[in-house]
Symmetry: C2
């Protein structure tokens, strides 16, 4: 039953009023790229499809207060430089490692978004036979691409030639990632196609 | 040439004087178990043997100050519950995941050291075909054991029978880990023997 104000307008409580906003978030709109990936990882975990987590932001803790009868409070801490990429975990026995980047640029991905320590880490992961890539979202269109770390490293090493990767090159060397509702960023289907060479249908046996 | 004080006693500068203290740290004495594992991981990384890192402590950041001309300072933050184990990475293409625990107990390992979320995570990792284990150090003797997650989960599930794992059971179900100087905790040699069924000699081809 719809509850109405005296003026006839339907009443919506705060939690209900938020619901349409959530629906608008379909396909990632209104959500950060990071939130969309976190949601996708939670989905994969709940379906026992993969165990992939975002690493916590590394901080150097300097001072902690321990107030009586309440939780410890960190009163002084500093952000530390990460030494790895942001996401890693296991899928079908394989080590998965990736970084996620979003750009507001329409036609290219500026390489200043990628840092030295991330490239160093990617090289090490590839040497150990891990699966390593970068997910790139073009903010304006919502398109997400998976580009293998080997290609990303080549582009990074060739910055004396060009400071960004053309979107057409990302389309050529990378793979489009399906976006939707569950999961929002279905990068594992792309991983299947690229690294496991199994058909998408095979990976969808669970009925998703 | 030895430099001597007028009284004949040999001169040692600060950095040299520290050397014997460092030698005492051989086998982990004076270092925390975590520091020893970090050092071992740094060694493995530098030798291109594996890429394994400790995950940062997860914190919920509430307030950050951005002082002019200096680094951002976190002024209020709280410790969050971790949802995984502490260490993960890649070795020979395989996903490696483990937790490290030290006990001052001499004859058993109390299961209160292991938490629900860690067991849940271990189950998920095993389901995905990852290599998952717990490293246990007996503080008094410095002995380190690797016990596979499957065994640890069984002991955890049987807490109605016993609240701790007898050291003799750890010796039986687990594997002793060689400790030394480089690396301090050579758990990958144990991983080779248990999970890759290759000889230790094969894993030591790099001359270590």
């Amino acid at each position: 039953m719809t509850i109405r104000y005296p003026n006839g307008k339907a009443f919506m409580n705060a939690s209900l009023a938020k619901a349409p906003a959530k629906k608008e978030a379909y396909g990632g709109r209104g959500m950060t790229f990071e939130q969309d990936i976190d949601e996708s990882n939670a989905y994969y975990l709940s379906r026992q499809k993969a165990v992939i987590h975002k690493k916590p932001t590394p901080v150097q803790i300097v001072k902690v207060d321990y107030p009586k009868r309440s939780a410890a409070v960190i009163k002084e801490a500093y952000f530390k430089q990460a030494s790895t990429t942001d996401y890693n975990g296991v899928y079908k026995g394989a080590y998965i490692d990736f970084e996620a980047k979003e750009t507001k640029n329409k036609t290219s991905f500026p390489l200043k978004n990628i840092h030295d320590h991330q490239i160093t880490h990617m090289r090490s992961v590839l040497e150990q036979g891990g699966i390593c890539f970068v997910l790139i979202r073009f903010h304006m269109t919502g398109e997400v691409f998976l580009i293998d770390a080997a290609h990303m490293i080549t582009f990074y090493d060739e910055q004396h030639l060009r400071k960004s990767i053309k979107k057409t090159d990302i389309e050529h060397f990378g793979h489009i990632v399906t976006t939707g509702y569950h999961p929002r960023i279905d990068y594992l289907t792309a991983v299947d196609q690229i690294y496991f060479q199994s058909s998408t249908k095979g990976a969808n046996i669970d009925g998703r």
